[in-house]
Amino acid sequence: MTRHVTDDVQWLTVCYPHEDAHEHVSVYLIEHDGSYILVDSGSFHHEEQLAAAIEEATDGAGIDAIILSHSDYPHSGNISEFREEWDDVELVASSGSPEIQGLSDARRCIIGEDLDVLGRTFNFIDPPLADRSHTTWIRDSESGVLFTADGFGNYHAPGECEQLSSEFEDAVPEQAVYEFHRDNLVWLQYVDPDKLRTALDEIFDDHDVSAIAPIHGNPTLAEDVPVALDRLERAAARIAEEYDVPTVEDA
């Protein structure tokens, strides 16, 4: 259940079934000068699996910091447990109201700025594909991996749980991207696809991205990023086209 996305970024992949498909609820582990930084903490549903994977990936050392994309429970569900399991785990979060989000001792990262965590610089990026206000995309400046929280998610077939984009026949399928975003980013039913694409292009123009690392999907490696962007734009357009606002006469 552990795949290297780059030399120092590992994908700890866990998922659960949705009828015939699976949905990832993964986390990522970054090694930096002998320390380990976890991006998101996963769901309580997978606590034991993730703890075991972290133990193995860190050779028993455990983690030293957690950077949280947002406080939604499938992303934040194991913070307390992991901080009890391993000592002195720093929590970094974008929330401006940590006590309201149950994250009272988090160090705040400001969306739109950079922050040093354990000697490594992370860029915190305003995400056009998100649902919670305080969601941040997180770019690891050393590896170039962009952690996209709920954005760029996809459902996958049971045999595809640990595949990187390069291991699909033709990258991550558009239908899987469409279905995930239709179900999870409901506001896309109102989206203007051109505005969304413009915002995404600005991010990818401003930052070198070695891989897109979603929590709810298979990672997309750099060579597949252009096709992933095109597929996401078409998926968003389809979601919007398929939703008709009821007419007042229907009320």
Binding site: G96, I100, S104, I111, D131, R132, S133, V245, A251
Partner: protein
């Protein structure tokens, strides 16, 4: 800190942190801003005491755990809590669900039927409700609806049929001055205007930056016509009991304004 809106309908209120910086920026702040007090964007929960049964809609955040437990106990005054409704499983709305269920183990947990990740929120065994579902408490009748403007996909709106109340959860939120706490909007010295609504929705529903504005505005027209409420009970604002559809209509301008701007900030 509660206020009884109508006999048997209790408004529980959590101010959250001071949001002064959000509304003043580098200037003096809007006309409703009072420099002698804080600015809040609250969390609100509502307890309906019917003739036969009781229902609590949302739970406030974990920072107010003791307050919500004691306020609910005082309001119930010895009655049982029969239903605990979670509008959506975000921490400021659902953060005390387990504590309340521990205090009222006979209460039935009620959750949105929308979305497909219920097991990741401990909501798989809840009573799932949505469009067409109702709970009649006796005197208060609660109807559930698919949420129109939302953040979490596991979301539900609610209305109260007897008094024509709409509970639109994360829609229709806004900041207010400390001295306005627990006031009805018609009791304010300054009106609920576009600026207040913009401060909230430009952050919480930031995705309006990327929408087809005309499509969203048609949706708002439909909401006004479909619900035509007499009251709005928001999760993050003050209760509206006069001319609520005027404020709903104002949201069309708010959406257009958000769409013209870059992200104005975050909340949460």
């Amino acid at each position: 800190m509660p206020r009884e809106i109508l006999p048997g309908l209790h408004w529980f209120y959590e101010p959250g942190p001071d949001r002064t910086e959000m509304v003043t920026g580098d200037g003096d702040g809007p006309d409703w801003y009072d420099p002698d007090g804080d600015v809040y964007i609250p969390q609100c929960a509502y307890l309906f005491e019917g003739d036969d049964e009781t229902l609590l809609f949302d739970t406030l955040s974990p920072a107010s755990r003791e307050e919500i437990l004691s306020d609910v106990e005082a309001a119930l005054d010895g009655r049982d809590l029969d239903y605990l409704v979670i509008s959506h499983p975000d921490v400021p709305h659902a953060g005390n669900a387990m504590a309340l269920l521990d205090a009222y183990p006979e209460a039935e947990l009620v959750a949105p039927r929308y979305g497909n990740d219920h097991e990741l929120y401990h909501l798989d065994d809840a009573l799932h409700v949505g469009e067409g579902d109702s709970i009649d408490l006796g005197g208060f009748v609660l109807d559930f609806h698919e949420a129109t403007f939302l953040d979490a996909p596991v979301s539900v709106w609610m209305s109260e049929r007897t008094n024509d109340m709409l509970l639109p959860v994360d829609w229709m939120g806004y900041p207010h001055a400390e001295h306005e706490m627990l006031s009805f909007v018609d009791e304010l010295d300054h009106d609920l205007d576009l600026g207040r609504l913009l401060q909230f929705h430009g952050r919480v529903l930031f995705w309006h930056q990327y929408v087809d504005v005309e499509k969203v505005q048609r949706e708002i027209d439909w909401l006004v016509d479909h619900y035509d409420p007499e009251w709005i009970l928001p999760a993050h604002g003050l209760v509206v009991r006069e001319n609520p559809t005027e404020y709903m209509d104002l949201m069309k301008d708010v959406v257009a304004e958000i769409n013209e701007r870059d992200r104005i900030g975050i909340l949460g």
